[in-house]
Amino acid sequence: MKIDHSLPLEYSTEENKMKILGFWIFLGAEIVLFSTLFAVYFTLQNNVGNGPAGSHIFELTPVMIETIVLLSSSFTIGLGIHAMRLGNKKAMMTFFGITLLFGLVFLGVEITEFVTYVHEGATMQTSAFLSALFTLLGTHGAHVTFGLLWGGAILMQVKKRGLTPETANKSFIFSLYWHFLDVVWIFIFSFVYLKGMM
């Protein structure tokens, strides 16, 4: 495997470059996936049947916490990648760890939020609006959950094997994924929650 030392570690082999490009394209497909879910949500957002409307169930506090936590995690994973480029394994691992911790908090708050909705009688089966809401949020939440597992696995590899072209490549790709989830969340926050509460 030829390693080009003039490039950052994650880009240093042909294989690494292709993996990063491939992942960008995959994110393109993910954008289409979430766009479709948003389109479904916008189409059905007022089809509340006999169930509650968004304005009745949305609460600002947990959503603000989720937003702040996820935005911060995007920042910390950026710092993590910066540390990785400087070759500082320990700092990189710390920042990645903080990122995953933030992700965990986000997930916890989201699950609590879901439980609250269900207790208020707003379940996935109540109306088309709620089906679309839970599916959109749930798909994002499932992505975060998968990210936690994936990020954890990468951290273990970095710890064991150090910063190699392979582990750096994985970490970088994971950071792309994490930023993407943050962007999706910003759309959810603005167009689902804020718009729904107005």
Binding site: M18, I25, A29, V32, A128, A153
Partner: protein, 648 residues
């Protein structure tokens, strides 16, 4: 679910199918053990990451599915050949036309094309494999087990019966209470994920792995068509993923997306389905255009006419393909405005398509046409597909569509597009690239016989349907009364269907006959062709190119032959890095099969276990360290000498 509902009962044909499935599943392991082929099968095929072998497996699977979908088609034609026929009952007929549609589009046309692109693309761009060989194997096994999952619905639980477009509320639990449409949502989901991965894989392959000097505008047309197709796949398939997920949620988890109450919208399904479904049509047509471009240029012995406009027109078609989905349901009561806009975008597709037709015709001009089997299919494509094209324009006119919609006219139209378009193309491509893979040509005489059977019978089968449609015969009717007067033309169509069957049997017989008796081919370039794949020896060695070719123009291989120049730079061989074979993609495919099967029957605990197992294979993969292997210079020299019969 009761156990007596688990197996489909009460139909002699289904009992026959069960018996043959049991016999085949006993025969395969017994045969493998007797001939001591278990190890061979595992090492050479089930674990392979070689794009050529994966391509061959795709094509074999597609041929099997062609058989299944073809039997469905024959049964349909037989049932409707005479009025008030009692061969099939309504339910059985509904299941058959549903699976015919799903299988022919998703499990025959798509994998056949993906198989050819797997075989050809790396060779055509001078690469040694695709960008992500392991992922490629995962794609194949997901497709394969998705297809198997749909097929077992025939004997276990019942097949989907709401049409291949599965419109809601017909496909909802209320109107379709069997597990048939659960199979639909899950089998297509699994296969669809595989297809999405294929799209990503080939886009990266074509963007990143072309031979030095092969600029985008110097790529062969088939490579161009796959590049564009990959982009369409990446933008279209996630929509299917979402649609199928919502379908599963509605049917199995009680959500209200497409429900008739609580704010659900049945038309939302139709919109999502066709936002994916129309681009899907171009996913199977554009590669066909690419194949024809290669074959017509080769056998007219002339470069492709209007190369640039061929590329631009494909780009235009791919963009337009996302802007026409509403034409599948003009009759849904949109305003005149909406219908008019979509009429115009739809008709606009005819313009770039016309450009391509004329470019092919002018490639023939001043050429030197030899009528080989692949060329015959490519030539027959032009006049027959044009009928499909012009009837497409007629259907695009919203007002007229109010009379064509849901009739046999529509059925005739899309068969006139998909069969000369896609099916002729994959058969042509199969004949054309066959010697590259196996080292001998298919027999020309048998090939031509089967061509004439297929081309003529095709028209006999489907042209009458245009007339039946204009006479008011709707599609998907399992029976009709004699007073309608639909009998004679349906009978004619049945005759054509028998002719098509004979044609396909001859095609398969040709494979068998040629394998035994055709002379081996030694040049590697049996057709005197133009693109890089023909510079390799046949059959192609594992590493494809001993030395990476260097390209300076389109058809570089053709010019190198003419000018007697080598395609590669001077210098000796270097060790070649290749990926290792691996059994995980296969195991993962099996796990997905069981996951899907348990989900179909809502057996949650086994489904969760299978799901965790899938997660486990992914975990294993991320911790695995596999850096591939090197093929030594001596081994390359030996292989090349053996295949080329000379020192180079």
């Amino acid at each position: 679910m009761k156990w007596d509902e688990f197996f489909v009962t009460g139909e002699p044909m289904i009992y026959a199918a069960m018996v043959s499935i049991v016999l085949v599943s006993i025969a395969i392991p017994v045969g493998l053990t007797y001939f001591k082929k278990w190890g061979y099968l595992w090492r050479e095929w089930l674990t392979t990451v070689d794009h050529k072998k994966i391509g061959v497996m795709y094509i074999i699977a597609a041929l099997l599915m062609l058989f299944r979908g073809g039997v469905d088609a024959l049964l349909m034609r037989a049932q409707t050949a005479v009025p008030n026929n009692g061969l099939l009952d309504g339910q059985h007929y509904n299941e058959i036309f549903t699976t015919h549609g799903i299988i022919m589009i998703l499990f025959m046309a798509m994998p056949f094309i993906i198989g050819l692109m797997n075989v050809v693309i790396p060779l055509q761009i001078g690469a040694r494999d695709v960008a992500f060989p392991r992922l490629n194997a995962v794609s194949f096994w997901l497709f394969f087990f998705g297809a198997m999952l749909l097929n077992i619905s025939f004997v276990i639980g019942g097949s989907p019966d709401a049409g291949w477009s599965a419109y809601f509320p017909l496909a909802s639990l209320e109107f379709s209470p069997t597990v048939g449409n659960n199979y639909y949502s899950l089998a297509l989901q699994i296969a669809g994920i595989g297809t999405l991965m294929t799209g990503i894989n080939f886009l990266v392959t074509i963007l990143k792995m072309r031979a030095p000097g092969m600029k985008l505008m110097k790529m062969p047309m088939f490579t161009w068509s796959i590049l564009i197709t990959s982009v369409i796949i990446i933008f279209a398939f996630p929509v299917l993923t979402v649609a199928l997920a919502l379908m599963m949620l509605d049917r199995q988890f009680g959500t209200q997306f497409f429900a008739m109450q609580n704010g659900g919208m049945d038309m939302l399904w139709a919109n999502l389905f066709w936002v994916w479904g129309h681009p899907e049509v171009y996913i199977v047509i554009l590669p066909a255009f690419g194949i024809y471009s290669e074959i017509i240029a080769t056998f007219a012995r002339k470069n492709l006419y209007g190369y640039k406009s061929m590329v631009y027109s494909m780009v235009a078609i791919s963009l337009l393909s996302f802007l026409v989905w509403v034409h599948h349901f003009y009759t849904m009561g949109h305003g005149v405005m909406v219908n008019s806009v979509f009429s115009i975008t739809t008709m606009a597709i005819a313009i770039p398509t016309g450009v391509k037709i004329f470019n092919w015709l002018f490639t023939l001009r001043r050429g030197k046409i030899s009528f080989t089997t692949p060329m015959l299919y490519s030539l027959a494509f032009i006049p027959i597909f044009t009928i499909g094209g012009v009837t497409g324009v007629m259907l695009a006119m919203a007002s007229a569509d109010y009379q064509y919609h849901n009739t046999m006219f529509l059925v005739a139209h899309f068969h006139y597009v998909l069969i000369p378009g896609t099916v002729f193309a994959v058969i042509a491509g199969f004949h054309y690239w066959f010697p590259k893979l196996f080292g001998f040509k298919l027999n020309e005489k048998l090939g031509k016989w089967s061509f004439w059977f297929i081309a003529i019978s095709f028209n006999v089968t489907f042209f009458p349907l245009f007339i039946l449609g204009l006479n008011g015969m709707t599609r998907r009717m399992y029976t009709y009364s004699e007073s309608t007067g639909y009998g004679p033309l349906n009978m004619l169509s049945m005759v054509g269907a028998v002719g098509l069957t004979i044609g396909f049997i001859l095609l398969v017989y040709n494979i068998y006959w040629s394998t035994r008796y055709q002379p081996r081919e030694v040049t590697g370039d049996p057709w005197d062709a133009r693109s890089l794949e023909w510079s390799t020896p046949s059959p192609v060695p594992e590493y494809n190119f001993a030395k990476t070719p260097v390209v300076d123009k389109l058809d570089a291989f053709w010019f190198a032959k003419k000018e007697g120049k080598p395609l590669t730079e001077e210098g000796s061989y270097e060790p070649i890095h290749m990926p290792n074979n691996n059994g995980q993609p296969f195991i993962m495919g099996v796990a997905f099969f069981f996951f899907g099967f348990f989900m179909v029957f809502s057996w949650w605990i086994p489904a969760i276990i299978a799901g965790l197992f899938i997660l486990g294979t992914m975990t294993y993969r991320t911790f695995e360290q596999d850096h591939g292997h090197y093929i030594s210079v001596e081994e390359i020299e030996q292989t090349e000498n053996a295949l080329r019969g000379e020192k180079k």
